[in-house]
């Protein structure tokens, strides 16, 4: 949309092109840094070294497992190398078939070999045990778990079925008898039957599941690591010129000894260097003295120059500012510096703690103030006194009462200015009221304005004739009503009698003003008018006469 704009104040933010370039550069920079970080993580020397270490370890472990199996079989049951090789082949084949690593399979075989079982029995039992362990512990069962469960099965092979019955196997008496009394081969066959009755081909089927596939990948990585480890070991031996691991170990020990010797020699060298510097300083000092003496001889006053030379030379070797050796820190200075730094740290920490404490205290204070304010608001809401004042103010009240209530309210509100004003107004109002009261009290009786009024003669004549009496009788006493009167006569007689009675009646009205009787009633509106300064408008006769008697 078209928009016209007049800038009142402006600010320079830099050109957009520069901004864009800057943004692009920083983005590129970040990208490169990120890439660098990932590359460093992937190909960093430390990561490579760690991997190499792990690979060598894995390779050595595999070798140890092989050695163990070999040892157990050859020593325990006198197995031949071909029998051992057959077991190794089985381990490799089972690894490719299921989810258990060759290392774990070898471990299982070794564990069975500890019970002096024949290689054929081991070969028969191993697949069933792998099914059993993977079924019970999953694809990622550890070496330790393989060991434990193999031990349990081997016990079952010897007639102790607890390990099997505990996990739910039901072994009938016939099988038990066969295991107890049968040959090794029969016992193994019986155990395999028991295991296969529940877990046959579990290890094989597990390979097709996602978890199994993950395990296969892990196994591949482990194999790769082992292979790399073997390669590393070979390369180390080639580099060191050794032909076996033992030779390599010897070479490493020699290297460590030599390194230790080098360190010792370095320490000796350091000590010798320090002595050299000390000697050097003495020599310089001596030279300086010689120069001083020489200059003294020439000029007679060369102390200053000599002192300066000595000072600079001293600082060169001893450290201190102004000399070439200003950056050399002595142990004492270092200790002093460390002490100072520690002191600074301690002070900073205490300052920070004090600051935190202050902030916390301030927060607490603010929270309290807030709570107090909230309470104040709540109490104001529930202030009964205030409520009663407000309610009273809504009612019909006199001016003085209104002022009194307003004053009370302003005092409650702690509004001093308004309270002073209202107090003044109230005082003035009371004064005026007193004036009115005294004025009214001293006001003389007002004469009856109707005192000279008389009934017209024609009306008297008409009434007398209508009622059948004379005018004199009519004026002297009330008309005596007789039953012979017509309705009109009755009305006329009663009206006349009422008027006559009203004329004779004394009207005595007392009006109270602030508790005192005053001589008349004053309309409230008139009072209000008078309070506002227009007392002239007061109509004292507007409703009643002052206290007194209305004459007949």
């Amino acid at each position: 949309m078209a928009e016209l704009l007049i800038p009142i104040t402006t600010e320079f933010k830099g050109k957009k092109a520069f901004g864009d370039a800057n943004k692009a550069t920083s983005a590129l920079d970040k990208g490169v840094k990120k890439l660098g970080a990932s590359l460093a993580a992937a190909f960093g020397a430390r990561a490579i070294i760690n991997y190499g270490k792990a690979a060598v370890r894995a390779s050595l472990q595999q070798q140890a497992e092989q050695d163990r199996l070999n040892q157990l079989l050859t020593v325990g049951v006198g197995a031949t190398a071909s029998q051992v090789a057959a077991l190794n082949d089985q381990a490799n084949a089972l690894e490719k078939l299921g989810v258990v690593t060759a290392g774990n399979i070898t471990q299982t075989q070794s564990q069975l070999a500890t019970f002096n079982l024949q290689t054929s029995t081991i070969e028969k039992l191993t697949p069933a045990i792998l099914d059993y362990v993977t079924a019970e512990k999953g694809a990622t069962a550890s070496t330790e778990q393989f060991k434990q469960m193999t031990n349990g099965l081997a016990q079952a092979l010897n007639g102790n079925f607890t390990s099997l019955t505990r996990v739910g196997f039901v072994i009938d008496e016939n099988t038990k008898k066969q295991i107890r009394l049968g040959t090794e081969s029969e016992r193994a066959a019986a155990i395999v039957d028991v295991l296969n009755s529940t877990y046959k081909d579990f290890n094989k089927n597990l390979r097709d599941t996602p978890a199994g596939q993950m395990q296969v990948l892990a196994m591949a990585a482990e194999d790769a690591q082992t292979i790399i480890g073997e390669g590393l070991l070979d390369s180390l031996m080639i580099l060191s010129g050794d032909t076996s691991v033992e030779d390599l170990a010897v070479s490493m020990q020699e290297l460590a000894t030599n390194t230790s010797k080098v360190i010792t020699e370095l320490a000796k060298l350091g000590r010798a260097t320090a002595n050299f510097f000390s000697e050097g300083f003495n020599k310089v000092d001596q030279t300086s003295n010689n120069i001083t003496n020489f200059l003294d001889r020439i000029t007679g006053n060369s102390d200053r120059i000599a002192r300066r030379n000595v000072g600079q030379a001293g600082r060169l070797f001893g450290g201190g500012s102004g000399g070439a050796g200003g950056n050399i820190e002595t142990a004492q200075e270092r200790a002093r510096r460390i002490k100072f730094e520690n002191e600074q740290k301690r002070l900073s920490a205490s300052l920070l703690a004090a600051e935190n404490k202050k902030v916390k205290a301030e927060k607490t204070r603010l929270a309290l103030a807030k709570a107090q304010l909230a309470l104040g608001r709540a109490s104001k809401t529930l202030n009964l006194e205030q409520i009663s004042i407000e309610a009273a103010l809504k009612g019909s009240i006199s001016e003085t009462d209104r002022l009194s209530l307003l004053l009370q309210k302003s005092i409650l509100d702690e509004n001093a200015t308004l309270a002073t004003q209202l107090a003044d107004q109230l005082e003035a109002a009371i004064k005026r009221q007193n004036d009115i009261r005294s004025l009214l009290l001293t006001t003389p009786e007002a004469p009856n304005p109707y005192r000279n009024w008389t009934l017209p003669q024609e009306l008297l004549n008409y009434t007398a004739s209508s009622l059948g009496v004379s005018v004199a009788q009519l004026q002297a006493a009330p008309v005596a009503v007789t039953p012979t009167f017509s309705d009109a006569q009755m009305e006329l007689a009663s009206a006349y009698n009422a008027a006559k009675a009203a004329e004779d009646q004394l009207i005595n009205i007392q009006v109270y003003l602030d508790g005192d009787i005053v001589g008349g009633a004053v309309r409230e509106s008139s009072i209000n008018s008078s309070l506002s300064g227009s007392f002239n408008t007061v109509n004292r006769t507007s409703r009643f006469a002052p206290e007194g008697v209305i004459p007949a």
Binding site: E3, L4, I6, P7, I8, T9, K13, F18, G19
Partner: protein
């Protein structure tokens, strides 16, 4: 010419964040200086009856913009938030603006071609100012104001900055 006030934007941001009351106060003061200017500019917007009849009406999308006195007057206002940077990298931290297309046409018509043709001479009011600061309503009011509003706004901002700094937040 507008005045560069470095840090005005940062000041407003800081006030909004740390001292909203002072921000409200300075905003009020700025509005106090800009509102008369806006009012005056709106006053220079002619009634529909004074405009060429074919120019008066309600704008439709895609058509030539029309002038409606009420809408155009409402379109003149002030802005206290910073604009986007222009191609030279400047932002306006406070400004007055004429947002409607019809109002803008009335404002600027004849700037380049002069008071010629069939349309411009029929427009009420006179072009005041020079160059890009030439106009019939908003620019005219700004010219006639002689920089008083600008000075007031700057003073208000400076005062707020001094107050803010004195508080030491």
């Amino acid at each position: 010419m507008p005045t560069e006030l470095r840090g005005a934007n940062a000041l407003r941001k800081a006030l909004r964040k740390f001292d909203p009351d002072l921000d409200k106060e300075v905003r009020g003061e700025m509005v106090g200086f800009l509102k008369p200017l806006v009012k005056k500019a709106r006053g220079y917007m002619p009634a529909n009856s004074s405009m060429p009849s074919n120019f008066v009406g309600t704008s439709v999308a895609g058509g030539f913009p029309k002038y409606d006195a009420t809408i155009s007057r409402r379109g003149v206002g002030y802005k206290l938030t910073p604009t986007k940077p222009n191609r030279q990298g400047w932002i306006a931290t406070s400004s007055i603006r004429n947002k409607t297309a019809g109002g803008a046409i009335f404002e600027t018509s004849g700037r380049k071609s002069g008071n010629t043709g069939n349309f411009t001479p029929r427009l009420e009011g006179q072009l005041v100012g020079s160059g890009k600061m030439q106009g019939r309503a908003m620019f005219r009011a700004y010219k006639e104001d002689e920089g008083k509003a600008r000075a007031g706004v700057i003073k208000a901002l400076e005062k707020a900055a001094a107050k803010f700094n004195a508080k030491g937040i």
